[in-house]
Amino acid sequence: MLRLRGVRKTYVEAGRPREVLRGVDATIHMGDAVGILGRNGSGKSTLLRIMSGREQPTAGVVERRMTVSWPLGYDGGVHDALTGADNARFLARVYGRPPGWVVDFVTEFSELGHEMHEPVRTYSAGMKARLSFALSLAVDFDCYLLDEVTSAGDARFNAKCRQALLARRRRSAVILVSHHEETVRTFCRHAAVLKRGRLTFYEDMDEAFARYAEF
């Protein structure tokens, strides 16, 4: 279970405070698949970083009773100067997994082939996303945070990601942020809208989309 209570986040920019999150409450259980809809700059990425534990909220409580991935997106999580395989060994050690096993798993799942032995800075955005997603599956988290990762790129690999997440639905939760309706519809069963620093959950996905379209 991942629970946020009254989470607020304020950044100070050029000496002036800017409130990004103004009291977010959320409870995510094992097996949930929640899509968070929000416009650009609505604080989606900030919310994911707080959920992952990378950033601390200015106020409020984050209760983390399951292991939460880093926000999986086009950037972040992998080291540009290292090869794909070295990244796999690095993260295996960070998360306490057998390095050899992780390298094998990632090579197979990401379908990067010999590119695994090239530096990540030579990868395309899609290849980087494949590496990072395969790495997160190898670590085996309880909760996956997806930051627009599946909204573009290779359709066949996206389907493979969806399959992998579906296969572990009973023991994993998925939180996906996006401003694309289709992405949320294919991955999620519930949706929430992040607007003016507050998060509103909707049982019915259509209602969420209707509210999202309103502004």
């Binding site: 950044y11 992952s52 534990g53 990378r54 950033e55 601390q56 292991t67 939460v68 880093w70 926000p71 950037d75 972040g76 999580g77 992998v78 080291h79 540009d80 100067a81 290292l82 070295d86 060994r89 690095f90 993260l91 050690r93 960070v94 998360y95 306490g96 997994r97 057998p98 096993w101 992780v102 798993f105 197979e108 799942f109 190898a138 670590v139 085996d140 988290f141 992998a164």
Partner: protein
């Protein structure tokens, strides 16, 4: 996809578990740094060895041409190679601290990896690498000139204390980077060059007139240069150091730096 590896240690609860996670992260960071700095196509280890060697050879030539010896008849190569390895450690740990957050933005996406871990890994690796380099020089000098250090243990302790002090400075520098890492870098780099002159690379305290001695002995790193050199050259020449003074600096820098970095963290990670 059906092969399942044993469950990872993911929960950070409990002291020993947290310590194990921390050790795993620092170990991973050390190996990463070995790859990026010393590995594969990089010649990091070669430079670690060549830089002090070039300086020692250069100074030896100048001194030989001018027919000058070092005060106390110290071996020039022995004096400058070991002195320079200490400076190398100071530069590697302190000068690179300011850009730790930018340089590692991608891997800092992992909540487990902290700025403190990155600095600890760097200090451990650089101290270890520099100690290895110094040991190689000690053996080479011993074999070729027949002069062996009086106490290799004292030299080793000196290097470790030096690493701890440099770590304290690195914590302070990184916490200051919250204001502006680039401006800080521009200040640190000239200071580093200046510190070649005022640190113990080129002189010993007893070579200076008394009033200057009192001034340079305010600098904490000088004490450790002198301490290492006592281990290297033995009791025939005078040394000036106060381990209590150096120890107090190490303690204050690390405690203050640690607290300052805690406060600076949200600004550095933004």
């Amino acid at each position: 996809m059906e092969r399942r590896a044993p469950r990872a240690i993911l929960e950070d609860s409990g002291f020993w578990r947290a310590a194990r996670v921390q050790a795993g992260v620092i170990g991973a960071l050390i190996l990463r740094e070995i790859h990026t700095r010393f590995g594969r196509r990089n010649l990091g280890f070669v430079w670690l060895f060549l830089e002090p060697a070039i300086l020692a050879v250069g100074v030896s030539i100048i001194r030989a041409v001018r027919r000058e010896a070092l005060p106390g008849g110290l071996d020039i190569v022995a004096f400058f190679t070991i002195g320079y390895t200490l400076f190398y450690l100071q530069r590697a740990v302190i000068a690179r601290a300011a850009h730790t957050a930018e340089g590692n933005r991608a891997i800092l996406a992992h909540a487990r990896i902290t700025l403190e871990d990155i600095l600890i890994a760097r200090t451990l690796l650089e101290t270890g690498a520099v100690m290895m380099t110094a040991l190689i020089f000690v053996v080479l000098i011993g074999v070729f000139s027949g002069v062996w250090p009086r106490s290799i243990v004292q030299m080793g302790i000196g290097f470790v204390l030096f690493g701890l002090m440099a770590h304290g400075f690195a914590l302070v520098v990184l916490s200051l980077a919250r204001f502006d890492a680039d401006v800080l870098d521009r200040i640190i780099h000239p200071l580093m060059y200046f510190s070649i002159v005022i640190s113990g690379v080129f002189f010993m305290v007893w070579w200076l007139p008394k009033p200057y001695q009192d001034v340079v002995l305010l600098l904490p790193l000088i004490h450790l240069f002198e301490f290492v050199r006592e281990g290297q050259f033995g009791p025939d020449i005078p040394y000036h150091y106060d381990l209590v003074y150096a120890g107090a600096w190490i303690l204050v820098l690390n405690v203050y730096g640690g607290l300052a970095l805690r406060r600076a963290r949200p600004f550095l990670l933004e």
